[in-house]
Symmetry: D2
Subunit: 315 residues, 4 copies
């Protein structure tokens, strides 16, 4: 029954073929040069908000799933530097340090690619799921978006609109919530916008000073029933300050992530997760400006299905 | 003797203490909100140029040094998706893919942090090199710049100015070259600019279709004697389309990287390497506009000494 | 005060210089060809007990320290195989799979190298701790033992001797326990032996079916005061079925690992941790033979400070 | 045509079902407790030969394929140790080092699991290749052999038999070579033996002092036509001092690895590669004893398709 409900929603928002049979970027197609130019003009104060969380061992992944927190170590450090004049020459005068990282591509602030979720054996635009093998995603990989993820950003601070620090775990954000928030903020969602939806979920963990259970706890997030609204608004992407954009637990059990199913393989909507929105939200509340330039370049990892990012919201 | 020459140049450009004893970002301090706001107004056509090269096994690292090319594989792929209705329910309807990466932080298009190079046992602002241990850099790490790397970008296309596809391997770009290029391009280098210096070196490898020996071959690049000029211009950062910004082999053997020594530990100048500049350069040649908004957010890896990036040049 | 107690014990068991100033393997020097030949003659039934635990995501590391459980994924899998005759030829008939792993060298059943622990700035045989840099251990690394870790193994099943499934968390095994166990088992500890001390600690986790908190919980283990006894017996190595061989919490707070300090940097005693001993112990209880051939080759990782192993006890 | 030749050889040596429909270890079933006990009695001199090559950045993988050389770095090193009494207490007296590794499981001296090679969509014992996904091998993985890889080892030093330091690159070792070598060495190949075939290939690289092109160069190795002989002799495993056991280039182009196809998915024969045999071979030539105890425990990596090893040959 849940499966049937999702299937109907999925078909309603499906964009397969809309940008041709070879398209691999979906709703990012809504972003035009005009939109980018107009959004850039919003940067009048020179303020920059970095929306990426730190990449470190203490992070949002509990390690109970495939994803773990970034592991960062050194190849060379201060202990390897030359210690006297002879060593300086031997090392060509070049004391220095070098480091490396091991990380899931979706372990921190991130974009999901359109190859991240399958529905009934298919990816966005009808590509077969078996095109994702150990060699990576032959279609819909994140590198296809390498110069595509910049547009007008709009913050919808639902938590503030509702007058709470954070929405309750398990609260499903409705279309009415999104429209009410936009109206209260005096901002209009437009074609090509990248929506940043603030639930306040992350604020609780930042206040506690640790990320424990961030990926496992119940969480507020968008309802699966907001998918048609996003489809109608023709937004380019949506991101949130929680683990999965959508509410946890699912509204349609046993399906775990019905909004993901609607958004990624059907609508071709790029999702952003674990965005740090608190500083930006505080500033928007102060100056009343909820629209800005959002620049969030993916790392162009060939055939990858996600990417860590550090988006800049600029006003 | 070389060491003495470098020491004199280094002292001449040294910015220790200039922004207080606790400063860890050096010349990025030159970037002000006014500069950012003005640079954003340069975005009138909505054009976006992604300057990051692909992250993949076929890349610029020969593997003969600590650095290697990114290794990307999957946790889950299309072969793991549910294959029938029962499996769909068991897997909570959520067929999908997940992936991860292992990579040196300086293996692709990148920023060096100010903890990357030591000189005579010290980092930028006089911090001791022993503060960089296996635990990472306690000072001058890249995450200190997390919301700092956006400014006006200026392309100096030295190769085009010299009328060649690429400067000769081993050619040391002089102050006269930089000034001649700027004049020919009708652009003035200003305080807070991020300079992108095009040597054409990468174009050769892209044309050949492989990166073999990119990190080992002789390369054109800036002369160590441009350091005082950059210091006087008060630029915020400098990047290039080669492996090390500076010329290879070194002008001051046996020191391998004299410009690095001047720039990073002494001037506190952030360096960017392996920038893909060809598309941007072609566009600049066409519209005659060599200044633009450059947005190049680092991944905020805690205590790291470098970061992979995908900078956006926007016009 | 604790520090002083440890210092006195450490000096009492210190073997620096005993095998010359260049020695890097410590008590493994006790193992002679005669001992190996005699131990091999113990293999009369052809029974083999593998003492290594599985390398997998579900393992003994909680991830709260640097160590994490092994991460294993594929480069190529069944989804990448050729699917028709043309593909067979194109792929040279070679459908196959390839995989890789990321792991701390001490995350599973393991040997510590003599570079793993420092005391007052020194390693075993007086080598300076600063010889261990990001480049690895210039002295006392595990690869120095590459053909050295085979000898007579002796199981001391202290838990069984005490009549319990497992010793209580925090129980410190005494010299009397070790001697009582040996006597009850009718086995004599000899020079060059590799002692396997069974606390039963791991059995509890295996029974529960998960490793949760294995590395964090209080644990039975040897008392620091067994160090002089081991020194006098001239054993070659000691291993146990817990996380750290020694009891947790420490008998000498605030020092966390006083036995480690005595054993590794002072005695030069190789320690083995997280050994799976239950099957072997059951067999020894049945046939009354507590001595056997133990073959536990390290992976010869150059300059490494530990190694995962899968030791074979053979009877 | 080549495909047809291989298919016929494959069918001739196929052991599917021989040890039941659930078997996952193939010819390792030939090893019995009696064989192990008898082999152990061969250890009379107490000599130990470690057959594993070093795990380090300078190794046999050129990096042009998925496999690369092991990457080993530190979590903690001597630079992180406590530097004064206060730090000693704060760090609980425990100055030490910790390290980790990233490596393909088949990058050094190794065993291939029976899930490593597919033929016409199948693995050994008829299991489907699609059972190997990003989650690993659901059948025939290396951990199934965790206590199985010890037996009588027999060195067949073909290079010495032929009177050369190393067989010529591209030389295919024949059945006659194997039988001639055994006869000259006065050793009889028996059921359950692990054969070590020395080509001398590795000796050349060791003499040059680097591994460059070891994995790419033409190499001597066994002919595909030795497969039926191995099948008839009922050996348990075969290993060699080259990259792939079999000769390179292939005798049956365009098939790259026809012997692999016969051995792994059809015969269920465990292959060992990149074995260091020179010291062992020199000793065998001296004492005339070419049979010994071979103990080569795999790391029991769950669902893995290969394992690095450091086998001990003991006499």
């Amino acid at each position: 029954m849940s499966l049937e409900t999702v299937r109907q929603l999925a078909l309603r928002v499906r964009n397969w073929g809309k940008w041709g049979p070879d398209d691999e970027i979906g709703t990012l197609n809504y972003i035009t040069p005009e939109i980018i130019a107009r959004a850039s003009q919003l940067v009048t104060a020179g303020k920059v908000f970095a929306l990426g969380i730190p990449l470190q061992r203490n992070g949002p992944q509990s390690g109970t799933r495939p994803r773990f927190n970034p592991i960062h170590t050194m190849f060379r450090d201060g202990g390897d530097q030359p210690r006297d004049a002879a060593a300086v020459l031997e090392m060509q005068g070049y004391g220095g340090s070098d480091d490396w990282i091991v990380m899931p591509l979706q372990c921190v602030t991130q974009w999901d690619s359109l190859a991240h979720v399958f529905f009934e054996g298919k990816m966005y635009n009808g590509f077969d799921a078996t095109l994702v093998t150990s060699s990576g995603a032959a279609k819909n990989s994140i590198d296809k978006t390498k110069n595509k993820i910049v547009s007008r950003g709009v913050l919808l601070d639902v938590a503030r609109y509702k007058g709470v620090q954070a929405l309750a775990p398990g609260y499903a954000i409705t279309v009415e919530d999104l429209e009410g928030t936009a109206a209260a903020q005096k901002v209009t969602v437009q074609r090509g916008d990248i929506l940043l939806i603030r639930t306040g979920f992350m604020s609780r963990y930042l206040e506690k000073g640790n990320w424990n259970y961030f990926d496992l706890d119940d969480s507020p997030g968008v309802s699966v029933h907001t998918a048609p609204w996003m489809h109608a608004r023709e937004i380019a992407a949506v991101a949130s300050d929680n683990y999965a954009v959508e509410v946890r637990p699912s509204e349609l059990p046993p399906l775990r992530s019905p909004f993901h199913i609607c958004a990624i393989p059907n609508m071709g909507l790029t999702l952003g997760e674990i965005f740090y929105l608190d500083e930006l939200a505080a500033d928007c509340a102060t100056d009343g400006r909820y629209a800005f330039l959002l620049v969030a370049p993916p790392l162009p990892v060939t055939n990858a299905v996600g990417t860590p990012i550090n988006p800049y919201a600029m006003k």
